[in-house]
Symmetry: C2
Subunit: 360 residues, 2 copies
DNA sequence: TTTTAGCACTCAAGGTTGTTGAGTGCTAAC
DNA sequence: GTTAGCACTCAACAACCTTGAGTGCTAAAA
């Protein structure tokens, strides 16, 4: 609400920071007396109370009810994240686990993201998501085919961003290597680099004419291509560590948890949330409580960072947890993992020796 | 634990059936008085009490505490499933939704299973899982390669059961079409149809020697192949509708739910559970409570059915819910979906015209 | 002017107690 | 074999009290 919080003097900042960190740790409203234990704050409880009252009127703290302790408000967390928080220092153990991911040398973004989610969930004890957005180019630049069986072949589609999709297609007629390579050629000639709305019926008919026999295959293939191009909200979302959330009392209310889980399963909304976010922002992004547009997430925080490869956003990795979250640790973890993945992707295309020369 | 329950007379069966159905519907222990409302049972509450007492001593019913109503025991449910239950009749609406799946014409088992899980979860209001077991042959019968980029190619592996796996492999050296097809040839010659323990170092060295330049690629490829062959518990598990479970009071205890969720996320145990089950059993299989070996599932029921294609088990689809479950509906749904998928898979290999000749 | 001690006040949490009502088992009559 | 009647049990609920952490305010100390 209010500006950057520069109106706060050092003492208020110290107290606010202490309150937030205590609350994150204990999970309960923190009172003035509790803070007097903090060696950094050499004040009586009464003085602290006065400061807390002011912090509350400034909107950084809230009181669940008269004469309970104080709890950080959304703006409190926001101010903390923006100005007060110190970077979390990874432990040796944590760094080791991260490096194991880097050494795995997974080239495929999907499998890489899957490993990354598990890692993120394991390290932070929150739920982690990995997102692969719909490829944005909207065209397929190259087709490849692989004959798998007399009646089955695989269509490999590569788009401008290097995204690769495979689909298997069956045919009731027998397919020969020769037919298939003619089909491949035809596709690369006529369909490659076309947007879905440029694939007209007459174009398809032309291919079918050129192709002669087996129009059945052509129409199956075209249908598959169009489906792939136009996949409604494309993208893919993987999750890990959903069960971690149940450790936090915030989610002990089954109804609320169910709603959040519903959103996570639905995938669509989360994908939108992430892809709507600031495209140019390179670092970790933090959506606290109602900063998430989704009603169901108003009591949760989402921290995520986009993963870029060759200048394009190819994915994102994030953490979802209660508003009361160990921001310092989570943000560092997400940032570190995302950066590493970006690095791996970029280097695996051109200079894979950047990683440990030995596996295992 | 006693035998098939043939010692029960008709009246006991009627009462047991009524109790189970009432309990499934209401979710609460059912008392003798409640049952007198049932027109089929024209008895006084006292008589019903006597019968209930006998059913309890036979092990089919349980009393949560003195003078609450009765609740079906595990054997009670088991007897119900084996002998009392009538088949659920699908509504028009439900049949329509099933048919939509059949019309989607998804050839790939993965995508088909994913759609099927969502459907099953939606129809039953429980959590649904789809399982693709580790391919059992343990060998790859055919390799294919597709060049995707100067430094990137795709390795397609087909195993005996028609299972197809793709992996992308990068190389720091440039790859030509020609090198790649030589690699493919070499793989099909030397590695195809070999078990993972038959791929010896000397064999690999031989390939590298034959292959001349670019040994880097060979070793990456072999590593990938071995990984694929030896994937610890292979298999894949998809879930849908996890949030449905939270609607049932059985899962309002967060701790217990967390454990179940943990098992579901772990995947490994569930895969084992299903693959350990009776291989020859073609119909739906029902594991009630502690019939599941997993401790975490002792309060849940799992209903699943294997999906066969060409005589082999290629997957399974199942439902997980509380022990108090609408068995009739769930079993029918699982059975129907599994049968349909089997049908689709078998027909799409040979006679795809079995399905509606028109899409949409 | 700032800080602190003291005090009255508030209110959630948790314990105790009593009431209610659904349900049972047993017995005696039908 | 079935039923009505009755005494008994026990979870669920509500009413009540106690406790204690925490507050705001005021007046005195620094």
């Amino acid at each position: 609400m209010q500006g950057g919080g520069s109106e706060l003097n050092e003492r208020k900042k110290l107290i606010l920071k202490a309150i937030i960190e205590a609350h994150v740790k204990e999970g309960e409203p923190v009172g003035s007396k509790y803070l007097t234990q903090n060696k950094q704050i050499a004040l009586s409880s009464a003085t602290i109370r006065n400061e807390m009252a002011e912090l509350e009127s400034l909107g950084y703290l809230e009181q669940p009810y008269t004469s309970a302790g104080r709890v950080p408000s959304e703006s409190g967390y926001r101010f903390y994240v923006n100005s007060l928080m110190q970077k979390y220092r990874m432990s040796q153990n944590e760094l080791a686990r991260m490096n194991a991911l880097a050494k795995s040398r997974l080239a495929e973004i999907d499998r890489l993201l899957e490993s990354a989610t598990r890692l993120a969930a394991g390290l932070t004890n929150y739920t982690s998501i990995a997102i692969k957005p719909k490829q944005s180019t909207g065209v397929i630049t190259k087709f490849k085919t692989v004959l798998l069986d007399k009646h089955l072949f695989m269509l490999v589609m590569i788009d401008g961003t290097g995204n690769i999709k495979t689909r298997q297609i069956t045919s009731d007629e027998e397919i020969s290597e020769e037919t298939l390579s003619r089909l491949e050629e035809e596709l690369n000639l006529k369909i490659a680099n076309k947007r879905v709305d440029e694939i007209t019926v007459s174009l398809v008919m032309e291919i079918e004419r050129n192709f002669g026999a087996g129009e059945g295959i052509v129409s199956s293939v075209i249908k598959t291509v169009c489906e792939t191009l136009g996949e409604p909200e494309g993208g893919d979302l993987k999750m890990a560590g959903v069960n971690h959330l149940l450790e936090y009392p915030e989610f002990s209310d089954a109804r609320e948890f169910k709603e959040l889980l519903g959103v996570l399963e639905e995938k669509r909304d989360i994908l939108k949330l992430v892809s709507d976010s600031d495209l140019d922002e390179d670092g970790p992004q933090v959506l606290i409580g109602s900063e998430n547009v989704l009603e169901e997430m108003k009591n949760s925080t989402m921290v995520f960072q986009k993963i870029k490869s060759g200048g394009k956003v190819v994915g994102a990795i994030g953490i979802i947890g209660p508003r009361r979250m160990d921001y310092s640790k989570v943000i560092s973890t997400v940032e570190y993992i995302a950066q590493n993945i970006s690095l791996m992707l970029n280097s695996s295309l051109s200079l894979p020796e950047a990683f440990g020369e030995d596996e295992n």
